[in-house]
């Protein structure tokens, strides 16, 4: 397995990011609360969680593309020493796609059915004046398509003439159009069969190595996480449940939610193990439990869990979990070490 350098430069640093959705006549729904992570150069960070736990909201917050009622209420998104939340809409428009590009969930919907695929890839290039010469734009489109394994002769075809896997490849080509440093892949393999899924993952892996991309990989497929990711952020109901590198998440998970999630996933080495399903449902954002958001479904919940929301505790070097059970015993002051902190101890 490939390991990234622990001291590769940090590209994207998210500190205490919180996002609300305004609801008419009601308290705003807290869709994201204090999300922290760091993305290093060449790193693949997996973001895992059930449907509705805020994965897509997090991605859209990073791009500042939330729907009209979404509000980022606190935090910083530091990208190459700039806080993206301080940028004007115009500067942000420049960052999108040139620096941070996105592979959208459901390629069929993200492609306009009335334009050829080639033209839609060119759209991004032209929008950013990345290349202005017409001939060069066409060359670049061909180059991008070939990079993702689509023949140049298919650039003048329409999305409905593409197969599902090809559409997803075209979306990847589109994301790479302006040579971004960070690619956000929002469930790029959902709705594809396993063979195509494997091809797409392999393609993303090659592109990462070839172009030195950092990838934010949103998925709810733990198999994909194990295969692709270097670090994992497990989300539950809009908060961080656990954040660690991929080996730790799979071998020594600390948060009960992560443990349950893994037990709900088949393990080839233990074929006789019974699969469980976590009882209950993820919390509704307008009816959150008082304490820990996972407490109502947690097998280890005790009294304190139902009244007090646990902060994110540092378990080990670069391993964080938000659970009262992992609270360091020696911790005299209840203050947890500032996450991830400016002191570079991560």
């Amino acid at each position: 397995m490939r390991t990234i350098k622990r001291d590769a430069p940090i590209l994207l640093e998210v500190n205490n990011l919180s996002t609300d959705f305004l609801v008419a006549g009601q308290e705003p729904a807290h869709a994201l609360v204090d999300i922290n992570f760091r993305l290093r150069e060449g790193e693949v960070l997996g973001i895992v969680g059930e449907s509705g736990c805020g994965k897509t909201t997090l991605m859209l917050s990073l791009m500042r593309l939330l729907p009209a009622n979404g509000r980022i209420t606190s935090g910083q998104i530091n990208f190459m020493n700039n806080d993206l939340l301080d940028l004007s809409e115009r500067e942000m428009g420049d960052v999108r796609w040139k620096n941070i590009a996105m592979i959208f969930q459901g390629a069929m919907n993200a492609l306009n059915p009335v334009h050829t695929v080639g033209r839609q890839i060119a759209e991004a290039i032209i929008q950013h004046n990345y290349i202005t010469d017409k001939k060069a734009v066409t060359d670049r489109v061909v180059e991008l398509l070939e990079l993702v394994g689509i023949g140049a002769e298919r650039k003048d075809q329409y999305p409905h003439q593409y197969s599902g896997g090809m559409r997803q490849r075209a979306m990847i080509a589109m994301a790479l159009a302006c040579n971004p440093q960070v690619v956000i892949a929002d469930e790029p393999t959902t709705a594809l069969d396993v063979m195509i899924q494997a091809q797409i993952l392999e393609l993303l892996g090659t592109l990462r190595d070839k172009l030195g991309l950092s990838i934010l990989f949103v998925t709810h497929d733990l198999g994909v996480v194990a295969e692709m990711c270097d670090t994992v952020l497990v989300m539950y109901g809009g908060v961080t449940a656990e954040y660690a590198n991929v080996d730790t998440i799979f071998n020594a998970p600390q948060h009960p939610y992560t443990q349950e999630l893994l037990r709900a996933f088949p393990d080839l080495t233990k074929p006789m193990e019974k699969l469980i399903s976590i009882p209950g449902y993820p919390p509704r954002l307008n009816a959150l439990p008082a304490g820990c958001r996972f407490a109502p479904r947690c097998p280890h919940a005790f009294g304190r869990c139902h009244v007090e929301a646990p902060p994110l505790h540092g378990v080990q070097d670069r391993h964080f979990a938000s659970c009262h059970l992992v609270e360091p015993e020696s911790n005299i002051s209840p203050e947890t070490p500032e996450f991830p902190g400016k002191s570079n101890e991560l």
Binding site: Q105, A110, V114
Partner: protein
């Protein structure tokens, strides 16, 4: 054709789909007949309606004869020639008024649907007000206050007929706006104008095209109504005006049915043509109907054996 939102990508493909709609074909045929009649009016018409004729009492409301196939009107002029020339005015009004309507309607609909918020509120409430006011009395008032010229008629009809298109275009814009490729375009960094031009308009265009054809028929009807009420340019002879003259100048008591029936038939013909054509276009342009999957027909079974019908 590559710029328009047809599910078929070429004019030939378009025609192949359109051919499958029998109603559309009939409409197209009827439409072409009227258009050709209007264009080649001087060549087809046996008499020039503007020509000064010396009239005797026998020429007024003369029954159809070899000389006048459809008889004569109250001024002793040939009804067939009037009818052929009248198609010109009706079509001109129909086309231009509907273009004005569609332009206003599409603009209002796209702006309201795309921008939403206060702009939408103001525009759509204004549309509602326009929708509630009965068109005909308002048109009568406006035409009566202005000079009854052909262009005034066109503007009045055009300025009153856009409400339906505006609502239609708005609802389609709202639907398209939610599609993910609009979000993608925005994340690429595209501005509003780019998104409207490149992503919204092509998706709304089929609706606009179909609606234009349907509005033409409405405009022709409106023009006929205004003319029948004597509110049109008296020098521009249209079908509605022929009806007006026949009605007010005693065609009924003279039992001159030919002076009434022909212009009435002409109006019905043109309106029916537009409606059928609109229906046919809708079937082809509506991407949901996906006609191209059915376009091959029985030849799709290509295993060599005889195919049962």
């Amino acid at each position: 054709m590559s710029d328009t939102a047809v599910s078929t990508t070429s004019i030939r493909g378009f025609w192949r789909s359109f051919r499958r709609s029998r109603m559309g074909l009939i409409g197209l045929f009827m439409f072409l007949v009227v258009v050709l009649m209007a264009v080649f009016a001087p060549a087809i018409a046996p008499y020039d309606p503007k020509e000064v004729v010396r009239v005797t009492i026998d020429d007024i409301y003369a029954a159809p004869s070899a000389e006048h196939w459809l008889g004569t009107d109250d001024a002793g002029r040939d009804v067939l020639s009037n009818f052929i020339y009248g198609s010109r005015v009706s079509l001109i009004v129909g086309f231009f008024a509907s273009f004005i309507s569609i332009f206003i309607g599409s603009f209002v609909g796209i702006v309201a649907g795309f921008y939403g918020g206060r702009a939408e509120n103001i525009l759509m409430r204004f549309t509602d007000i326009m929708l509630v006011i009965p068109d005909l009395p308002l048109a009568v008032v406006i035409v009566a206050l202005t000079k009854p010229s052909l262009w005034n008629i066109i503007f009045v009809i055009g300025a009153l007929g856009w409400t339906g298109s505006a609502r239609l275009v708005r609802s389609q814009t709202l639907a398209v706006k939610q599609r993910k490729f609009v979000l993608r375009a925005r994340s690429i960094g595209a501005g509003n104008m780019h998104i409207i031009r490149y992503h919204i308009l092509p998706m709304v265009l089929p609706l606009i095209v179909v609606n234009t054809v349907l509005v033409i028929s409405l405009a022709i009807l409106n023009e006929s109504t205004l003319s029948f009420l004597g509110l049109s340019d008296p020098t521009a002879l249209s079908w509605g005006q022929m009806l007006n003259f026949a009605f007010t100048r005693g065609a009924m008591s003279a039992r001159a049915w030919w002076a009434l029936v022909m212009p009435g038939l002409g109006i019905v013909w043109a309106v029916l043509a537009c409606t059928l054509l609109g229906q046919g276009l809708e079937q082809v342009l509506n991407p949901r109907l996906e006609t191209h999957h059915l376009a091959v027909g029985v030849q799709m079974v290509d295993r060599g054996a005889e195919v049962q019908a």
